[in-house]
């Protein structure tokens, strides 16, 4: 028989793990203890944990800052369960019996294999280059003035800077929380997200121009944007933090919905508040992208009576 004692951080992360075979384990700062801790709020001889046939017992050795179990200060020997947490001074300990059950292994699975490809330097570089290409293409197709190289370089530079800063921030978070940066992975993720966003903008324009149905197309696009942003944030959290699955979903969805709706704010205002000018579908596209048939003016006029109802 033996006892496992973990020194854990406030966040729950395990800092040290000790296996102790003694029946009675003494804990304190003095070097004659079985478990020696360096926290200066702990007494030289602070507490004792004993393992008997009836279970695990703890007792305080008249320490200055005391031994706390479930928020109560322990005055006399007290039985605890395997896996319970104790507080000595400012140090958190978790105590386990050796027969304590552990969770099943998490399967590496296909999802993680796909995600691992994101960490390839080639994937990161190619997606960043492709994004830069898209940015210049967009700048070129919407330019009605003389060609100016400087403007293209600026456009690409701004987007690349945003992408790199995003990857760096998550990398730093990852370095602190998980001791791993995953910078290349984060860079691939945000680049791919931006590429998809560009495509989505194009699909949005195309749908809007062809259906001329603002509400329908906008609602569909907003939902897609939320899903996409939610995935990006979920994956970034997955690589850079230790949050549980539920927390990851919660945070990513919350941030995605808030950001997208916030960016829609002026649109919503324009569509609900009075304005002297009508709000029309502005974006028009070249003939090659027009796929719907046209009507005669008589048919159009017949359908127009709706705008005169009061």
């Amino acid at each position: 028989m033996a006892i496992i004692i973990e020194v854990v951080a406030v966040s729950g992360k395990v800092l040290e793990r000790h296996r102790l075979d003694q029946k009675e384990i003494t804990i304190g700062r003095a070097y004659d203890n079985h478990l020696i801790l360096s926290d200066n709020t702990i007494d030289a001889h602070h507490a004792v944990i004993s393992e008997t046939d009836d279970g695990i017992f703890i007792n305080d050795l008249n320490s200055i800052n005391g031994l706390r179990y479930k928020h109560d200060r322990i005055k006399e020997s007290k039985q605890i369960n395997s896996g319970d947490e104790l507080l000595l001074g400012k140090t958190h300990l978790r105590v386990f019996a050796t027969n304590h059950a552990v969770a099943e292994a998490v399967s590496i699975g296909r999802q993680n294999q796909i995600l691992n490809t994101f960490s390839q330097p080639s994937v990161a570089i190619i997606s960043l280059l492709f994004l830069s290409l898209l940015v210049s293409l967009e700048a070129w197709s919407s330019s009605i003035a003389e060609f100016k190289l400087r403007e293209y370089i600026e456009a690409v530079f701004v987007i690349d800077a945003i992408v790199i800063i995003y990857a760096l921030i998550w990398g730093i978070v990852g370095k602190i929380v998980k001791h791993a940066m995953y910078f290349k992975t984060q860079l691939s993720l945000i680049s791919l997200y931006m590429i998809l966003s560009y495509f989505m903008q194009f699909i949005y324009d195309l749908l809007l121009f062809n259906t001329l149905n603002y509400i329908f197309v906008t609602v569909v696009t907003v939902i897609l944007e939320i899903v996409l942003l939610n995935y990006l944030l979920w994956l970034s959290l997955e690589f850079s933090t230790n949050l549980s699955n539920i927390k990851k979903w919660f945070f990513s969805l919350l941030v995605a919905i808030s950001l997208i709706l916030l960016s829609m704010y002026t649109e919503i205002i324009n569509h609900t508040e009075f304005s002297v000018s009508p709000s029309l579908i502005q974006k028009i596209l070249p003939p090659i992208l027009r796929m719907v048939p046209s009507k005669t003016i008589e048919e159009f006029i017949e359908e127009s009576s709706d705008i005169f109802t009061h």
Binding site: S141, I144, I281, I284, R290
Partner: protein
Amino acid sequence: MKAYIYFLQLVLLSSSLAFAESEQNAKELFNQFSDRIFKVRVLELSSGNQASIGSGFQIGDQGRIITNFHVVSEYVHHPDRYKIVIENKGGENFDLEIINFDVVNDLAILQSNDVQAVSIPLADKLPAKGEPIFSLGNPHDLGLSVVPGTFNGITSYSLYGRIHISGAINSGMSGGPTLDKFGRVIGVNVASSGNQVGFLIPLEHLRFFIDRSESLWLESNIYEQTIRDQLYENQENIYQELLAKDWKTSKLGQVIIPQEIAQYIQCWGENYHQDDQKYEYIQSDCLANESIYISRGFNTGTILLQYAWIESQELNPFQFYTLLTLEGTAMSPDNNASEDDVTKFKCHEGFVKAAPNDQALAVSKVAFCAREYKKYIGIYDVMFLSMSVQDNNRSLLGHFSISGVSEDTALKFLAKYFNGITWQ
């Protein structure tokens, strides 16, 4: 789509030819008429504050006073919150009531039983062109003044039949008379458009209005309905005539377009081209530069047609359509109205092909929008915007805004307008 305001400034640059000789006349008139012109004021009942000020004069012998509708419009819209007061030369005040008004011709006739004043006779006919005339009124609330001017005849091309004169009509003089050299009324001061250009409501409208008001006394609860009916009847008259005749067309780029569709509509064209510009832009704006005053910040009865022909050999289709997207965003209605006056625009958008005999297989992305007048049911401001989208490097933008029309008028106008556009 730029400034078409030039019209008012261009109309007349000639001035004061007859002034020297008419100075003597002006003095005499001042002495003779100073007790016949009233200051007309609309006061807020609760605070006593002055809401508007203008001039007025008595006609006939029953205490009837003529002024502009726009001088007393606050009272017409809120008879429970305002009252109309006139002040004579001696500073005496009298309360007045409205007998009748004509929102389209900007006239109102008021009644008081207490006023003892000498009336001013109406002229039998208008003076000859170039003859001196005298506008009387109360400019900027500074007291009575006589402004000599020159009669220039009725513009034959006026939507609402105004006379323009060379003479300064200033705010506050609205509602005052303009007299010929014999001291008879030839029109009512109504508006000014800058230096030495004034507008009158002509004698003919005034006489017709006086006759129609003979045995009338409008109750305040039908003011709103009366305005609505007058606006409705006016648009019926104007558009019945406008829709019945053939429209004058001209060519813009590769398209024949309706332009000066009536004599009171005038067009101005501009051609923008700069050396480093990669496209050609030709614009044509046509409008009737007159409107009907309903209340402060709310006017109607305007007609505006705008076109732009855009063509480019240098831009690729995506760049060209970016340009079209930018150009199409600048459309707005031609009249002023606020949230209190009109509903939000409702629009219908779609792709419409040109008439079957059209050679170019033109297709336009069109938007047709209407907003209703909140108080005047069945009257709308209507806007139409079309952009041809069948070609990669040329397009016609068409826009019209007509205000104060019925649904029927709007739909007929749209059909005639759209069928009047032919590609070559």
